[in-house]
């Protein structure tokens, strides 16, 4: 792994809320072009870690370098330029409720890429199609969309500026299995086509088995193990054993093996 280039380098991260500490001395790397899944129990600080990396929360201690630059030390405009290379899919989509789906995707194109409204909306249509949203939904407001459609629309918005790093916070939560599998494939395709690096928070074991290159297990306030699935699943920690070799873990493993044989 040492030969690979890190796009995100987190070193010695500590996050505390009052007296409660969520991360202590946490190190994590995201390499170029990989899909890294971060797993951990509820409340293990996965979302906090994501928020720290994308700059929504300043960690109490530690340093996060993105493309070799420390975000916290950059000036406002440089920082904004780096942040434009992020695409973030929030857990509940976070679509702007006063804009239609197309306008949601067109907004960053108009603001940052300087496109005209017509061009931006046309391109937004392409992104929505790429994310697999049916055409009938394009002119709707987020309030009238289903959960799966909101996820897809939010993915289209995250992809609007063709980011280098895609952050996904539980992308398949709340989707039906068919939709979730399609979403996994979509992420894989987009990664291959766009050369994205993907930082993925998930509880979905099928996602872990089908699309991830590496898995980082967040436990005991730090990254317990990080590596390919086979390596992580062999770790001796009881939580990891329960996670990967519990009933759901075994089912997902069988499914992945079967799918591999059919291919």
């Amino acid at each position: 792994m040492s030969g690979q280039e890190s796009v995100i380098e987190a070193r010695g991260i500590c996050n505390r809320f009052g007296r409660q500490s969520v991360h202590e001395n946490l190190d994590l790397d995201l390499y170029r072009g990989e899909i890294l899944a971060v797993v951990g129990g509820s409340g293990s600080g996965k979302s906090v870690l994501l928020r720290s990396i994308i700059g929504l929360r300043r960690p109490n201690e530690g340093q996060i370098k993105v493309f070799g630059q420390d975000l916290a030390s950059l000036r406002e405009e440089q920082r904004s330029r780096v942040e434009r290379r992020f695409g973030v899919l929030f857990q509940k989509g976070a679509l702007f409720s006063s804009l239609t789906v197309t306008e949601n995707v067109a907004l960053p194109l108009i603001e940052h890429a300087g496109l005209s409204r017509a061009d931006a909306e046309h391109l937004a249509g392409v992104k929505l199609a790429l994310a697999g949203l049916p055409i009938s939904a394009a002119d709707k407001y987020p309030a009238s969309l289903s959960g799966g459609m909101i996820k897809r629309a939010a993915l289209a918005r995250a992809l609007a500026l063709d980011p280098d790093i895609l952050f996904l916070d539980e992308p398949t939560a709340g989707l039906d299995p068919i939709g979730a599998a399609a979403f996994d494939q979509l992420i894989l395709t987009l990664r291959d086509a766009l050369g994205l690096s993907v930082f993925l928070i998930t509880h979905d074991l099928d996602t872990l088995y089908t699309i991830t290159d590496r898995i980082a297990v967040l436990s005991q306030k730090r990254v317990l193990v990080a590596g390919p699935l086979a390596e992580v699943a062999q770790a001796s920690d009881t939580w990891i054993q329960d996670y990967f070799h519990g009933p759901r873990g075994r089912a997902a493993e069988h499914a992945a093996v079967r799918a591999g044989q059919e291919r």
Partner: protein, 374 residues
């Protein structure tokens, strides 16, 4: 770095479309111009040459897909790296069954205006019907529960009395004190011309006992409590908590609405009384400071000139206002649908409606009391 472009090379047979440079979002506008111009020019048998294509992103890929079409693309992508080929294929497949829907043509402004007026009138009628229906349901629930004292829910009632009454007392007191002082100042200035400054006492007492105390309190409650009720019930509705209450076999009217209505029915008259006292005290302070009417004299004038019926007329209106404010606040909460935005819209609507209703009702009551010469 070469600028990205698409050029038509007609020297060879068949003609060849040369695609060069980075087809990325940064060059979108110029590339789009180029490709639109070329699309009209090239013949059906033109081939494409993508060998000099640089970087490619979704924006560029969508332009290429539109410019070249599926068949031509599938013929010429062999020399591209696998990633770009996959991207082009994906974008093409999605664009194919996806075109931007045609926007409806603009309609006549006058017609739109008429339509909006019609919709507004319709909505007003529906809202009024709904409010009347809701008032009916509240009364029915209240009456039914009145016969079953063991099912009265005192804890939420007391909690709401604290929130709507006790917590609002300071602001009501301060506000009415200031308005009382202002009314006294006005009276002192105008009545001085007639040498009748002593009637300032009557002015302050009459206006506060009959109108100002209850009206100011009700308007404050409309802004403070109706909005709070809407936001509380509305966020529960958005969070599907109301549905949960129903599926547990409980009655949201009994659980949420009745305690709030009862609480406001108790606290608004009490606050009105506080407002009366404070307004009159405000007047008395101004009288003592600028008109040389001592508090003792103020009180004796009050006692001799002002009948108790004025106090009763003012206080009698308070329960009606309280009932309507609580009903409107709760009803708007129930109308919330799904989103947080809707909670905000209905909160605004609750405040506007309840202030409107309070003032209209007060005007009607003033006419009624005048005709009855109470």
């Amino acid at each position: 770095m070469t600028l990205p472009s698409a050029t038509l090379d007609t020297s060879s047979q068949p003609a060849c479309l040369r695609i060069t440079g980075d087809w990325t979002l940064a060059h979108y506008a110029s590339l789009k111009r180029d490709s639109e111009r070329l699309r009209a020019q090239y013949a059906a048998d033109t081939v494409a040459d993508l060998s000099q294509l640089g970087r490619l992103d979704t924006a560029g890929a969508s332009l290429l897909a539109e410019l070249l079409g599926a068949e031509r693309l599938s013929l010429c992508t062999d020399e591209l790296p696998e990633a770009s080929r996959a991207l082009l294929r994906n974008v093409y497949c999605s664009v194919q069954d996806y075109c931007i829907p045609v926007k409806e043509p603009e309609r006549n402004v006058l017609l739109l205006l008429l339509e909006r007026i019609g919709c507004a009138v319709g909505a007003l009628w529906q809202d009024s019907l709904q409010l009347l229906g809701f008032v009916g349901v509240i009364l029915e629930t209240l009456l039914r529960r009145a016969l079953q004292p063991h099912r009265w829910r005192w804890t939420p009632v007391v909690a709401h009395i604290e929130q709507t009454g006790l917590d609002a007392a300071p602001i009501v007191a301060l506000l009415t004190f200031l308005v009382g002082a202002v009314v006294a100042f006005l009276g002192a200035t105008v009545l001085a011309d007639f040498g009748a400054t002593v009637f300032t006492v009557d002015l302050v007492a009459f206006s506060f006992l009959r109108e100002f105390a209850v009206l100011l309190t009700a308007i404050l409650m409309a802004g403070r409590t109706a909005s709070a009720f809407t936001a509380q019930i509305g966020s529960m509705k958005a969070n599907e908590e109301i549905d949960a209450i129903r599926t547990l076999g409980l009655n949201p009217m009994e659980l949420l609405v009745v305690p709030r209505v009862l609480a406001l029915l108790i606290s608004l008259p009490l606050l009105t009384f506080v407002a009366m006292i404070c307004g009159i005290v405000g007047g008395a302070v101004v009288c003592a400071l600028s008109l040389d009417i001592s508090p003792a004299m103020f009180l004796s004038l009050l006692q001799s000139d002002i009948g108790v019926q004025h106090f009763l007329v003012g206080l009698a209106k308070a329960p009606f206002f309280a009932f309507l404010i609580a009903a409107i606040g709760c009803l708007e909460g129930f109308k919330v649908s799904g989103s947080a935005e809707s909670v905000g819209a209905h909160t605004t609507s609750a405040v506007v409606q309840s202030i409107f209703v309070v003032i209209v009702l007060d005007a009607v009551a003033a006419l009624f009391f005048m005709e009855m010469s109470w």
